[in-house]
Structure formats: structure tokens, C-alpha cells
């Protein structure tokens, strides 16, 4: 099982010299298994480059199958979908999985992006076959020989974390989420942030505790844990309601779950490469005597779980 990063950025794509090394495309990760259809996690702008690579192979002849796990439908996690080349060839198939949105069908939510004033090609007129698979929190299912599990995260309008197990190796994708301590994020709009470390409604506290337990369980012994670490601790103080974590939060989860490698992901749009280097170096130093290995996601980075890269 190999993990390839096509987009590592949060919020919106950020072109420019200052993001050349880590990359400016929004979230998209590919899981490659020899002889298995590609599994893509999230469809940010990084998906466009992946699509260009896929259409050189069986996708060119309309014989391609791709599976896609979507964490949630915020723009930075779906905005690459209309620009995914395999969708424009007859015969290709996309199996898309995401959390059941509640009051509407997943297909209807995603169709909005391709509709009238926004995009010229409606979703239902794409040549490829697109199938929407709605997931419930905690659901377990198989994609070929890959076992997939999911659990919900603490994010506005709710996101899903996914765990993939194959051939004795495991990967968890955990983006986007706030830590599980200062605020419960679901469907309510929160205009003003609560005080970090302040008192919490008991019901909310219980719900957050259970959510965290389930996430730790999902991450149990994972070989590779990709985690939303958009904020530095100082940035988090004023934005706990934005639904993103810090490396400290990610490290705490990784340690509790006994994950082997933690990978920082979903970098803030304003973060320059040099600043990201500094964050990475700081936490690398912090973990110098730790069993937990630390990586920082960059566009083009490939991690082979079978070769012990992670």
C-alpha cells in the first residue's frame, strides 16, 4: 500500500513561489495497491493532476474504475471533481463514498457544484458512470480487498475520518477536525468562538469525549496517520470554532492510539514553505526520543507502507 499526496493544502489553493515545495493544491491523497483500482481520498484541486495521470492508462479507453472517499463536502475537499479527466470518458466508473448528508441526497449535494451558473457540464451529463455511496458513522465496508472503517469528526457540518486496512498495513485519514475539548461542531453556525479551556456544556462534553474515543479506536495501531494540523497552538486560541487542529492535538491522538507514523496535513493557506519547515522542525525535535515517527505532507510525496517508509 502506497500513499501519494496530490494536494495538502486547506481552505483554498495557493499558487506562488512561497508554496512550491509543499504545494498549493487543496486536499487529495491517493492510495495505490498493486493490481487494485485506485482509492482516492478527497477531491481538492490536487485531483486534477491525478486525473491527468490516470487518463494515460485504462481510463483513456473508458475501462477505468476509481474509488473515492470524501471526508466532507467543503469546497477545498471537492473542488477538483469537475476537473477530473476520467469523468469525461464513456465507460469509466467512479464509486464515490461520503457521509449521508441528512436532509438531502449526497448526489444532489455534489450536483450543485456542476450546475448552471457555476460550471458548464452538469454532473448527470458526465460520460463516466458516477455512483454515490452514502455512509453512516461507524460503518464498515470493503473496497475490493481493502477494509474501510469510518467515524465522524468535530467539524462544521461534520466530516468523516477513514481507516483503510490491507495486507496487514493500515492508514488513517483524519481531516478536517477540531480537537475534542473546547467546542462541539455540528450543524449550528457559531458566530463567536468560546474561550479555549473554558467551561463546556455537559452534554457537549460527553459527545466530544465519545467522538474522541471512537477516533482513537479508529487510529489504533495505525501504520500511517494523516491528520489535519492547519493551526499552530497560538492560531487555534482565536479560532477553535473553525474546526481544525494543531500538531499537538494530532500527536496526542497518535500516541494514545499507538500509531507508528503521524503525517501533518491540511496546511494553512497563508503558510509559506519556510514557515512549514519551521513547524515541522519544531515538532520533529519535540519527538526526537519518541517512538512516534513524524512526517509532513508535501505534494508529490510517496510513502510506501510495505517498505517501512512509515
Amino acid at each position: 500500500m502506497r500513499v501519494r499526496f496530490w494536494g495538502v493544502r486547506g481552505s483554498f489553493p495557493v499558487p506562488g513561489k512561497q508554496t512550491n515545495r509543499y504545494g498549493g493544491n487543496t486536499s487529495c491523497v491517493e492510495v495505490e495497491i498493486d493490481g487494485h483500482a485506485p482509492i482516492v481520498i478527497d477531491a481538492g484541486t490536487g485531483l486534477r493532476q491525478l486525473g491527468k495521470r490516470l487518463v494515460r492508462n485504462e481510463f483513456l479507453d473508458g475501462k477505468g474504475l476509481v474509488h473515492m472517499l470524501v471526508s466532507h463536502t467543503h469546497w477545498d475537499h471537492i473542488q477538483g471533481l469537475p476537473y477530473f479527466s476520467p469523468l469525461y470518458s464513456e465507460g469509466n466508473e467512479l464509486q464515490l463514498y461520503a457521509r449521508q448528508p441528512g436532509d438531502t441526497h449526497l448526489g444532489a449535494v455534489l450536483a450543485h457544484q456542476n450546475d448552471g451558473p457555476y460550471f458548464p457540464v452538469p454532473l448527470d451529463s458526465l460520460k463516466a458512470r458516477v455512483q454515490f455511496n452514502e455512509l453512516l458513522e461507524g460503518q464498515q465496508f470493503d473496497i475490493g480487498d481493502v477494509r474501510v472503517r469510518c467515524t465522524r469528526l468535530n467539524h462544521p457540518w461534520i466530516a468523516m475520518a477513514y481507516r483503510l486496512d490491507y495486507g496487514g498495513k493500515s492508514l488513517v485519514y483524519c481531516s478536517d477536525t477540531a480537537p475534542f475539548r473546547d467546542i462541539l461542531l455540528e450543524h449550528e453556525f457559531i458566530a463567536t468562538p468560546p474561550t479555549v479551556g473554558g467551561p463546556l456544556d455537559t452534554k457537549h462534553a460527553i459527545k466530544l469525549h465519545m467522538m474522541r474515543e471512537k477516533l482513537v479506536d479508529l487510529c489504533q495501531g495505525a501504520d500511517f496517520l494523516i491528520y489535519d494540523t492547519q493551526f499552530t497552538p497560538v492560531e487555534y486560541e482565536s479560532k477553535p470554532h473553525w474546526g481544525h487542529s494543531t500538531p499537538d492535538d494530532a500527536i496526542a491522538i497518535a500516541r494514545e492510539a499507538g500509531a507508528k507514523t503521524l503525517c501533518l496535513f491540511h496546511h494553512a493557506p497563508a503558510r509559506t514553505d519556510d514557515q512549514q519547515d519551521e513547524i515541522f522542525a519544531t515538532y520533529k525535535h519535540l519527538l526526537r526520543d519518541d517512538n512516534l515517527e513524524l512526517l509532513c505532507a508535501a505534494e508529490g510525496m510517496v510513502v510506501d507502507l510495505d517498505k517501512g517508509d512509515a
Partner: protein, 289 residues
Amino acid sequence: MRVDVWGVRGSIPAPGPTTNRYGGNTPCVSVIDTKGHLCVIDMGTGIVPLGTALLQKSLPVRDDFGAGKGNATVLLSHGHWDHIQGFPFFAPVFIPGTKLSIFGNARTADRVEALLEGQMNPQFSPIYTLKNLGATIRFEGVREHQCFRVSDLEVSSMELPHGETSVLSFQIKEQGKTLIYASDAGYSASGAPDDVVEFYRDADVLIHDSTYTPEEQELRRNRGLSSYLDAAAVAARAGVGKLVLFHYDQDHSDDIVDENVRLCGQELERLGAGRTEVVGAFEGMQIDI
């Protein structure tokens, strides 16, 4: 008027080392008139660095955007993603007191509002609704051939073909000088209609779509975009002073754009329009007209 270019890329932002010189952000151009009023054309991701520049006070605008005293006009050519996707990340919209007037390519103000409201829907955006923004926003639907005044600027619109839909081109005049913005223009193979050429006539600066090479255009005419040859042809017919190539294909590297600009210049020479200067728009470009 002073023109600043913030985003030049078509379809989708194109980050990476191969777009560093021209830039990978989607369309956004600002026009500042002699009174210091800010007029923004399109809200691709280029509007994000514009927002930063406004808060850093690095532009000669009259209003203090950081203090919630910003007042800007936005002209939207159309509602495709690459022309609106920067809006939720434009810093001044979060500052209470900011005033925005958004003129969009729709028959009614409601439709312009609905376009941006749909972008903020909680399924897609943590903002949930336009009502949660700090800014006060007024919407206007713009019809073809509508003329209106924005501070000291005289603005006229013209509808251009864009595949199965249309876009607005804007003509902006101040003190006898004229700027035309014509992104996403996609004429038929026989070229721009005469009334479009008249709309561009003698403009000092024409910012024009140049998504494709002629070879790509052969295959993609139905998408409703221009090649650099289409841009050269209409610029030559209209006798414009300066042609600014714009809205580059997401897969065109800086080197390809360099070559397209050079070949566009050759084409202008061939058409007997050697007086028309051609340049490739790049992020950070400033033109004083």
C-alpha cells in the same frame, strides 16, 4: 485609472513552480480611479492577495478597508467557479462596516445574490450564508448595453458568447482613457461579431481571453474560449493600443505562455497591427492608463 492584475488563470488555480512567473490564481483585476475608489473585476482566487494588500494599505485606495470603512464595487463577468471562488476568502468581507456593490451577469439582483448565496451554503462553506459576513452587500443585475457610473468610472457592459452560455465584457472609461475586460470570450470560428469589435474600438488597454493555442482551439471551439490568434484578430480589428493576454489554460507553463505572447505579437504584425503592443498578464502587473 490604475489597473492591477491579481489572478490570470482560467478554469482552476494552477499552483506549482511552472506557473510562478505569470501566476496560478484565477481571474481578478482591480481598477482604482483618480478619486481612489476601488473597482474589482471578477473574484477568482486572485482576490485573496488583493484583500491582503488592502489590509496592508499597499494600494492607493481612498478607503481604509482594515478599519471597516472599505467601499468597493465588484463587476462579475459571469458565475463560473474560477470567477467567484476567491470571494469567501476576501478578507474585507469579514470586516463589519465594509460596503460592497456587486454587479453580476444576471437579469435580476436576486439572481446575483443567489449565485453567491449558493457558494456559502453550509454543505460547502463554514460561512453558511452571506448574512454571516461582516460586509454589507448590495447586488445588481447587469443587462447587456447597460451603462452605469462607479465613482469616477463610466462602465458599459456587452454580452459575449461563452460556449452554451454568455459572459459580460466591461468597458471602463475615465478621463478619455478606456479599459476593456473580456475574459472568457469565445467567438465563433469566423471571429468576433462587428458590434463586439465596435465595443472594443480604440481602447487603450484590452484584457482579453487567450486560453488556447490555435491547435487546442481547433479541438475545443465549443468550450467558448479564445486562442491568442482570436485575441490578436479582434485587437487588430478594433485598433486597440495594448492587448493584455489573460485567462491562461491551467496546463500552460510559463514557457508556453511566453511563446504564446511572442506568437501573438507576430500575428499582430502579420495583420498590419504592429502598433498594438501585446503583453502577457501576470500576477502583480500594474498598468497606469
